[in-house]
């Protein structure tokens, strides 16, 4: 378990969290590469089925940031 690196799927709002993720980049803040970001215009559009599909696709966790 020690090496376990969870695959995290992030559903993010384009205005805030996506921008923040870009900012993290411009400051070269490092985080594990197992994080994947999917951009939504607004996380209000995140459907339950999106989250379930993410788990089905292999995600260990889903993060919704908006």
């Amino acid at each position: 378990m020690e090496d376990f690196q969870p695959k995290i799927e992030a559903f993010v709002c384009t205005y805030c969290t996506y921008t923040a993720a870009d900012m993290a980049g411009s400051q070269r803040l490092q985080y594990p590469s197992t994080v994947r970001v999917v951009k939504y215009l607004c996380t209000g559009k995140v459907e339950i089925v999106h989250i379930l599909k993410a788990f089905e696709a292999g995600a260990d966790a889903v993060f919704v940031g908006g």
Binding site: D22, Q30, V38, C42, K45, E47
Partner: protein, 1013 residues
């Protein structure tokens, strides 16, 4: 010499030169460029953004400053009608208004602007580190640099003073590593000349040199810093990545003190004005510090808290009661340092009169604002009148007008102010600059012409994938070649390759060619971020004859190579995943068409007071027909009884003139005794029924400006209405203006401030009352020098240059006595005489006053009619009943509802000159719509499938923009494509799945998500 623009024709030029690329210059540029004018934005620094780009969070919303400004920067950067001339100084401006010739020195960057793509390899290889001016010397940058990562233009500059090659003749590392050959050591300063019809001055400000006030030890004690330095420390992009550290030992300070008014309200140093923003930014900094670490003790030492802006007083109260920021009303005399610990000691007397000594780990000096010093000489050369401090003199009530015709001013260069006022003045100056050039609107702007779009419907997806190296930004971590090879294996991909810079001009040409050659009908670019580059690539698609919605981007830089620099292999794998996801979605993309409609190029202004009249006249001067609706029988509103200002302007006379101009203007149709009954349509095309003298009429318009005004609170306290010697400030002004003989004989007059303001029910400041009191007191002293005047106040809020008049009033013998919120003055009538007892907290004693007249500074309330108008237009109001703008900082004139704008007292308490400026600004914003003959609606918006809709109204409740409406005839929901923002909340909420958001369909999302790993 290079010459640009339409020089020497003798006619007016449809271009505007904006000098200064801070937020005011940016706003002015965007408004003008969006209204049909060519804009030259001239900035002396290497990039635009000004001081706002250096700030961390902003009050009162705690929004990130960089996050707010960077979209504006990008908008400027990609605007076809704005030409940024950065790292350039204006040398001279000659010629008549309408046809100025601007001589500019473009300073040598030693980097070719056309070749540099901002990849930053040069800086990473440059061996020379120097103190970073953008971080106020707190961090280091290289000798070749950009100010900050989001800089616009993103072009590197060699700092010649520090460059090793320029000093020793050896190095040239940057040149060696630049893959685009952009370094040019032979570059020279260049003189260019541009033609512009009008000039907007927005050179901004700098902060006070705190070492001049030597008692605070700035420059001697490492842990005494200025507020602007602290902004950089707080900023995530700053020298300590947003971790609060003190300079001496990089430890987290546990006790921080702020000292207010350093270089402000300091007549003894020739700086007798208030800098407006320091109280609020100090409070904000304290609150943010507390958010970083609750354990940090924060203490603000102040004279008066100046929270006169919208939402400020609430913020101040929250800081005190919820965040636990300490406020001590005591001006600090000096800071002493323990040279071993570098801790700082402050002596002060607290509110109970006790002498205290307190130790702090860091002291922040809230430094005042000074006008841009480098601009002073030029301003004199240009014969633009400056005041004694070097700020630009305005013309009476017209804040954005200067002494030189054709020159306008905005931002802090006009007077110290906050961001919203700066932004609205930017719009206001644009309105003036455009008004003068209304007849040449559209003569210098370039309209892009695109080839006809290829119809791809029914075609199998043919996807092209373009993978970007971004110099070494991506390629240094990710194996881009492997990624493009991988892309080739994905279904529907018919082309994939990798490019040094996908965004460079030559690659763009290449891309167009490939799209045509390979008959691509979908394009995926794997590079930086859609936030900055999507519009650019979409434009390329359009130029290649593809619909712009057939584009998809994979973010393999900002969210991959930059954040996984230490995991090269994983980053490559992730890049492949991201490309796979994008390709999966791309295959499902559909072309979308925005539908054009003809804009009704007419404006509606609701409210015929000073703001409404100004807005209507400004629109008319720009050449747009305007309806002006006034509910009462006469135009003029509150300003009719504003007889004079502290500065000697005469609003009521100005108003008379204005009313006449409005009545005489053939473009303005005035309706009095009129109100708006309903409203339908969308931005660019509204229809309303109005009732005029009881008769109904229908009007159409493209934009609406709300200027419904405010009214004076009728006090219920302090014997008002019971004793005829108790007047409101406006009633006193009326009597002063009519030179009431009775006033000449009175001996004692007392004024009470904050009547109906800043209390539990109305926790806002009415902004104008302190100045009104000062103004009326001075007038009374003029009339009757022997009269004794006592002003009972809580905080005197004579911001900006109004502080002079406060001082003048004191010098003329007006006595200002402070009272505390929980110990309000007691007013009694004793034997026919008014007796006021007030507790002076400094003396810790009661003071007993008698008054022949008691004047109450009554609050400003929103007009009682504004509620019904809010319902008609579906516009939001704030807790106090004033209309709520789209964003307190950067969109002070807009509503979230597109096509609606606001100004005047309807927005919040303000001065007459501020109302005028705001009205012009609102008109300027409106022009960005009215200047377009056609607008487009649709695209990525929600569509309702009427056959599935059961009209349950869930979407109506869910939509944050109030767009869905029930179509009563059809019994289904109707979503106006023009008003929809495309957020998709309705689609998610709809229990029947009746709403689909184009370009954001479930299938598209699911395709992407399924391709995750």
């Amino acid at each position: 010499m290079e010459t640009k623009g339409n020089l020497g024709t003798g006619n007016k030029i449809g271009a505007i030169a904006v000098i200064g690329g801070g937020i005011s210059g940016i706003q002015a540029s965007l408004d003008a460029a969006n209204s049909g004018f060519k804009v030259f934005l001239i900035e002396s620094n290497t990039s635009i953004g000004g001081v706002m780009a250096q700030l961390d969070k902003t009050f009162p919303t705690n929004d990130c400053s960089t996050c707010m400004i960077s979209p504006k920067l990008i908008e400027v950067a990609k605007h076809p009608n704005i030409e940024i001339i950065s790292y350039a100084d204006v040398l001279d401006i000659s010629g008549p208004p309408g046809n100025f010739s601007v001589k500019i020195k473009k300073k040598a960057r030693y980097v070719d602007e056309n070749k540099c793509v901002g990849c930053g390899i040069c800086a990473s290889k440059c061996p020379k580190k120097v103190p970073d001016a953008f971080n106020r010397g707190l961090g280091k940058r290289k000798a070749i640099y950009v100010s900050f990562p989001q800089a616009v233009p993103l072009i590197y500059t060699i700092d010649k003073e520090n460059c090793i090659y320029f000093k020793n003749g050896r190095c040239r590392a940057c040149e060696k590593f630049c893959e685009n050959n952009a370094i040019d050591f032979a570059q020279q300063d260049e003189i260019i000349e541009i033609g512009a019809g009008t000039i907007i001055l927005a050179p901004g400000f700098e902060t006070f040199d705190a070492s001049i006030r030597g008692e605070y030890g700035y420059g001697r004690y490492p842990n005494v810093i200025t507020s602007i330095e602290y902004e950089r420390i707080l900023s995530a992009g700053g020298p300590s990545q947003g971790h609060i550290q003190r300079p001496s030992d990089s430890q987290v300070p546990k006790r921080i003190a702020w000292i207010q008014c350093v270089g402000s309200r300091d007549a003894s140093m020739g700086r007798g004005y208030c800098s407006y923003v320091c109280c609020m930014y100090a409070i904000k900094q304290a609150v943010i510090s507390k958010e970083h670490d609750r354990e940090i003790d924060t203490c603000i030492f102040y004279i008066d808290i100046r929270a006169q802006g919208k939402g400020f007083d609430r913020y101040f109260e929250r800081a005190r009661s919820e965040s636990g920021v300490r406020f001590v009303r005591s001006m600090i005399s000096r800071v002493v340092e323990n040279p071993i610990s570098h801790n700082l000691e402050i002596n002060y007397i607290d509110e109970s009169g006790e002498i205290r000594t307190e130790e702090f780990d860091m002291v922040i000096l809230s430094v005042g604002l000074s006008p841009n010093q480098a601009f002073q000489d030029l301003a004199r050369k240009l014969e633009v009148e400056l005041n004694q401090f070097g700020f630009c003199e305005s013309r009476g009530l017209e804040l954005v007008s200067t002494s030189r015709p054709g020159f306008f001013v905005c931002g802090v260069f006009q007077s110290p102010k906050d961001i919203p006022e700066t932004v609205l003045q930017g719009s206001s100056a644009a309105a003036e600059a455009m008004g003068f050039l209304a007849d040449v609107r559209g003569t210098m702007v370039a309209e892009e012409v695109y080839p006809e779009e290829r119809d791809v419907r029914g075609e199998e997806p043919r996807i092209g994938v373009f993978v970007c190296h971004c110099g070494i930004n991506i390629a240094g971590v990710v194996d881009v070649k492997a990624v493009s090879e991988f892309a080739k294996t994905l279904s529907h991909v018919v082309f994939a390759d990798n490019y040094l810079f996908a965004c460079s001009t030559d690659t763009q040409e290449e891309m167009k060619k490939i799209i045509k050659e390979h008959k691509l009908n979908r394009v995926v670019v794997a590079s930086c971020s859609p936030r900055t580059h999507e519009p650019l690539f979409q434009d390329t698609l359009r130029e290649a004859g593809l619909n712009k919605y057939l584009f998809e981007m994979a973010n393999i830089r900002d969210q991959n190579s930059w954040v996984h620099a230490n995991e090269k292999e994983n980053a490559t794998e992730k890049a492949k995943d991201l490309v796979r996801m994008s390709v999966a979605r791309a295959a499902l993309l559909e072309p979308l068409h925005e539908v054009p409609f003809n804009v009704v190029q007419k404006g509606l202004v609701v409210g015929g007071g000073l703001a409404g009249l100004t807005a209507a006249l400004t629109l008319a001067e720009q050449g747009y027909e305007t309806y002006l609706i006034e509910r009462s029988a006469d135009l003029g509103g509150n300003a009719r009884t504003l007889y004079y200002t502290e500065e000697g302007a005469r609003p009521s006379e100005y108003l008379k003139d204005l009313v006449q101009k409005v009545k005489d203007n053939r473009f303005i149709r005035v309706y009095t005794n009129a109100e708006v009954i309903d409203c339908s349509g969308h931005v660019g095309r509204f229809t309303s029924t109005i009732s005029v003298n009881g008769k109904k009429e229908e009007i159409s318009y493209g934009v609406a400006i709300v200027a419904t005004g405010g009214e004076e609170y009728k006090p219920k306290e302090y014997l008002y209405g019971e004793n005829n010697k108790v007047l409101t400030q406006r009633e006193l002004e009326e009597r002063l203006a009519s030179c009431d003989e009775g006033l000449k004989n009175i001996k004692d007059l007392v004024m009470i401030q904050c009547v109906g303001s800043r209390d539990d029910e109305h926790p806002y400041c009415s902004r104008v009352c302190c100045t009104e009191a000062v103004k009326n007191a001075l007038k009374l002293k003029e009339l009757n020098p022997k009269v004794n005047i006592y002003v009972l106040y809580r905080d005197i809020r004579t911001f900006g240059f109004k502080e002079f008049y406060y001082k003048k009033a004191r010098e003329n013998g007006v006595r200002f006595i402070r009272y505390e919120a929980d110990k309000k003055p007691q007013v009694r009538e004793v034997d026919g005489i008014l007796q006021i007892v007030v507790y002076d907290p400094n003396l810790r004693s009661d003071i007993e006053l008698k008054a022949d007249i008691l004047t109450l500074s009554a609050a400003i309330r929103p007009h009682s009619d504004s509620k019904s108008l809010a319902t008609v237009f579906k516009l939001p109001c704030d807790q106090d009943g004033f209309f709520l703008e789209a964003h307190l900082k950067l969109r002070p004139l807009d509503f979230t509802n597109a096509g609606f704008f606001l100004c005047g007292l309807a927005h919040g308490p303000k001065f007459a000159d501020e109302s005028v400026a705001q009205a012009k600004g609102a008109a300027s914003r409106a022009c960005t719509i009215l200047s377009k003959a056609q607008m487009y609606v649709g695209g990525a918006v929600a569509q309702v499938d009427g056959s599935r809709c059961v009209a349950c109204l869930t979407c109506v409740r869910t939509c944050p923009y109030n767009v869905p409406r029930l179509d009563e005839e059809e019994g289904v929901i109707y979503i106006d494509t023009a008003a929809c923002q495309g957020c998709g909340n309705c689609a998610t909420a709809c229990p029947r799945g009746a709403v689909v958001v184009a370009h954001n369909t479930d299938e598209q999302f699911l395709a992407k998500i399924t391709a995750l790993y």
